[in-house]
Symmetry: C2
DNA sequence: CACTAATGGTACTTGCTCGTATCATTAACG
DNA sequence: CGTTAATGATACGAGCAAGTACCATTAGTG
């Protein structure tokens, strides 16, 4: 049921998603929706957090630097992840707590993993710091991700993602073979 | 009147902004609103584009590389620019044409200016290309800008912006003094 | 001054959606 | 089998907002 709800929220936006439609789509009844989640807001945050958990999980399954970067690029540029990012940004004014938990469990956590991988790889700057990891993360998304957010580009192929990850690491001096 | 409209749209979002309130705030009448712009959608796009023009204009007043970067950072991290970015992203599904024009007149245009400034400076890679300029732009926004989009950080001070611009140029090898 | 065009004010219609209440049905369980 | 808890279906009330219609007022023009 959360999955059906999230599909609608991602497609239609928060305001334009009616709970009648959610109930119908999920073959449940409004009564049940309100029993599980008290509010429309409650359903929204639960659905968004559930999806985010799933995405974050699949994005972080790799440990070595290049593989981790490729996985992040590929996962975060997917239709689902982009739509999630879009709606969290768009509703951040109305749901500041959701925005915060999104950032902590998303970009902030990924940045920490990147920092660990950078230190384990040890081929870039002598002592990579938090700002190095943040720059890396920002570039792994970069302008292609902004174009995705704005609906201006299709999802990259796995090859695109791998190439983008490698080029990004090279540009920041974390990979040899300039 | 567009200015009052944009204030409300940025603060409340598209769906939650009522035209009654816009009319009242701008000391106009709904009749006049519908006379100038046919739709709520028409008012929205007109207001957004007007604000974007103003922001883009002030962001691009500098030519030398470091000054241009500092100006971009400072302008694009302002409350107004961030709120604009947020709503264009959030409504990009409903207003794809607006999203496209935003990208062309915003990030795409800024990237072109950055490329020209990079070539004029000539202190970085031998022949800077479009991807170098895109990386630079992406990093000038970077994670601080994402935190701004999500409402997690206040606007940077001018000193913050100058420092961030310099550090970014250094990280990409466009400035000496590593 | 008279006339016209545009605008402010406001009431109204229509449609939609949140949240609640009611009733019937199903399924679990002793 | 019978009782109870949960759920599906549906209808309802209240509120809100887009877009329209009507009247009064202002301002510009000959």
């Amino acid at each position: 049921m959360l999955d059906d709800a999230v599909d609608l929220f991602l497609a239609e936006g928060y305001a334009s998603t009616s709970l009648d439609l959610v109930a119908q789509r999920s073959s449940a009844s409004k009564r049940t929706v309100y029993a599980y989640f008290t509010d429309k807001a409650g359903l929204f945050t639960a659905a968004v957090e559930r999806l985010h958990d799933r995405i974050a999980e699949t994005a972080e399954q790799s440990a070595p630097l290049l593989e981790l970067c490729t996985s992040l690029v590929e996962t975060l540029h997917s239709d689902e992840a982009v739509a999630l990012h879009r709606i969290v940004v768009g509703e951040s004014t109305r749901f500041p707590e959701l925005a915060r938990s999104f950032y902590v469990a998303g970009p902030a956590r990924s940045t920490q993993l990147l920092l660990a991988a950078l230190r384990a790889a040890g081929s870039g700057p002598d002592a990579p710091g938090a700002s190095d990891a943040e720059r890396l993360y920002a570039l792994l998304l970069g302008e292609p991700h902004r174009r995705r957010l704005l609906g201006l580009a299709p999802a990259p192929t796995p090859e695109d993602s791998a190439r983008h990850a490698a080029e990004t690491l090279r540009a920041l001096g974390h990979l040899p073979a300039d």
